[in-house]
């Protein structure tokens, strides 16, 4: 078995999970850790990840990694314009990239231009760039597409993902305003919500040859009673999470309806229903998003390494599976 040499770029809350997953995995060797946060630079990555000392010092730039790694797992920010420079620097160092950047999973709108530039750069430096994740990237898009292949006709699609925020990382809880009051968050609520729902919708619509109009709405969910779960407390009247809805209309009528609800104490599940020929529906018993995203990053490594140079979206690549 060939051990793949991996650099981790970003040692935030997901980065730490990735570090732990890589550290005890015999298929991968951690060739370096990059994070531009001054409080982390020069620290031992193992200690930051809550493990023992590993001798792996965090460096601030990808150019400081001299070991010629196979791939970078990039896990910093959600917005493609925010990570564009980071990813470009990795590509210029001739290293493949698999990234958690939500907007990279399926670039839409103004991100298409950035994606095109990254694609050209990747081809120039002979490397591959892929954005992956459980959502966007799997439960609300790739899996929906996969299921659509069972149909010859599709009238309407409904996709739901219900997440118990108390089971997720603190950073996500904070982003979703958990425990704050509606008054405190009134001005920011519309800028919040999950990054990637429109990307998921467009991955589905583009593939199914639908030119949709998208309508999205984000609203806070207010706790109706005191919630205490997994060490998290939310009082009655406080924000327990958010509900993010999207409707894609095709020629005036609803084609796709998506609902992502993330709140404290939710009964978790994912649901996909296709009204078509044949009709079908599928329901999960909930999928831990942080753990699943870490898995997807690792499991896409062999796919990225065997892909042609360029930037690829998941729907252009082979079916993924656990790389065991």
């Amino acid at each position: 078995m060939i051990m793949q040499s991996v650099v981790l770029f970003g040692l935030g809350s997901i980065g730490v999970e990735i570090f732990r997953a890589l550290y005890h995995n015999k298929k991968y060797k951690i060739a370096g850790v990059v994070d531009n946060n001054p409080s982390k630079v020069n620290q031992d990555a193992g200690l930051i990840a809550g493990k023992k000392r590993t001798g792996l010092k965090v460096v601030s730039k990808i150019s400081e990694i001299k070991s010629n790694p196979d791939i970078v797992i990039h896990a910093t920010m959600s917005s493609l314009s925010d990570v564009n420079n980071q990813i470009s620097s990795i590509v210029r160092n001739r290293i493949n990239v698999v990234s958690t950047c939500e907007q990279l999973v399926y670039p839409i709108g103004s991100n298409k231009k950035i994606a095109k530039t990254l694609d050209r750069l990747a081809k120039k430096y002979n490397v591959t760039i892929v954005g992956v994740g459980v959502n966007p990237g799997f439960l609300m898009d790739s899996m929906v597409l996969m299921l659509s292949s069972l149909c010859t006709k599709i009238n309407k699609i409904k996709v739901e993902r219900i997440v118990d925020l108390t089971k997720r990382r603190k950073a996500l809880q904070k982003k979703m305003c958990l425990g704050r009051t509606p008054r405190q968050t009134r001005d920011i609520m519309n800028k919040l919500g999950h990054v990637g729902l429109e990307e998921s919708a467009m991955m589905i619509c583009d593939a199914l040859n639908v030119k949709p109009k998208l309508h999205t709405k984000i609203k806070p969910i207010i706790a109706k009673h005191h919630i205490h779960s997994n060490g998290v407390s939310v009082r009655r009247g406080q924000i327990s999470g958010i509900e993010h809805n999207l409707i894609a209309k095709n020629k005036g009528s609803e084609f796709l309806r998506m609902n992502l609800s993330m709140y404290a104490g939710a009964q978790e599940y994912d649901f996909v229903e296709i009204k078509g020929i044949p009709p079908l529906s599928i329901k999960t018993s909930g999928v831990n998003g942080d753990k699943a995203t870490v898995s997807l990053l690792l499991n896409y490594i062999p796919i990225v390494l065997s892909a042609k140079p360029g930037l690829f979206t998941l729907n252009k690549l082979r079916i993924p599976w656990a790389h065991m």
Copy 2:
């Protein structure tokens, strides 16, 4: 939109469904129909398919089709050795093939040799061969692999498919000995069951790097009371269907357990459970297998047409979706 020119090879019970699906679909033009059954040759394919006269006369050999079609949808038999000559003749006529042949979906055992020869032939004639279907091909293998990509560790996988035989085609009901007595079928029961369960198991195990020992068992399900559903009657004591079980052991312990139960009056569902990190499970509300297989055949056409020459299994190809 480019209309694809399709030849249908095999006008049995699934073939008839394919004909109907193709006939009203603007993306495809039926360029010809092949069936070597003398009672069908020279007949109007539309009339055989229960539609109006179409002017499409059934021919007995692929070489009689002179219109240079894009692809053949091949739907005749389950065994690869039985269809080898048919598929070879299509390939020698330089036409791509998407086939319902269960053993072609993932050739195992002695079929690997046939597959290798077909692969060489396909490369020689610059065409692509792919076997598809809902099972094997999707619900008990591709979808399981896809879900496994959410995990970094997998201890055990359970896959179930429960089918109400009264909702399926007569040919399948007959194959499953519906309405016969255990005494009548004692000698043939072990040769029966679903073709493809071992193929599905090996598609999963090969991808997940497990070298399993497979144990399979087929037993009849006896009606405990009179069943009357969808125009099908089964009396108490008669065979209402079969239960086909497979266990794949890895180094002595169970890694994969599959159960396919097809019987009259069953409450339909599909179920996949992965015990791993993270644990997950998924359940469908049942998928009409005949309709879904027809969909997959049509939806794989663009994938087959854009693939390289050779014989491919589904796990090497991009995620499928409805070709709308």
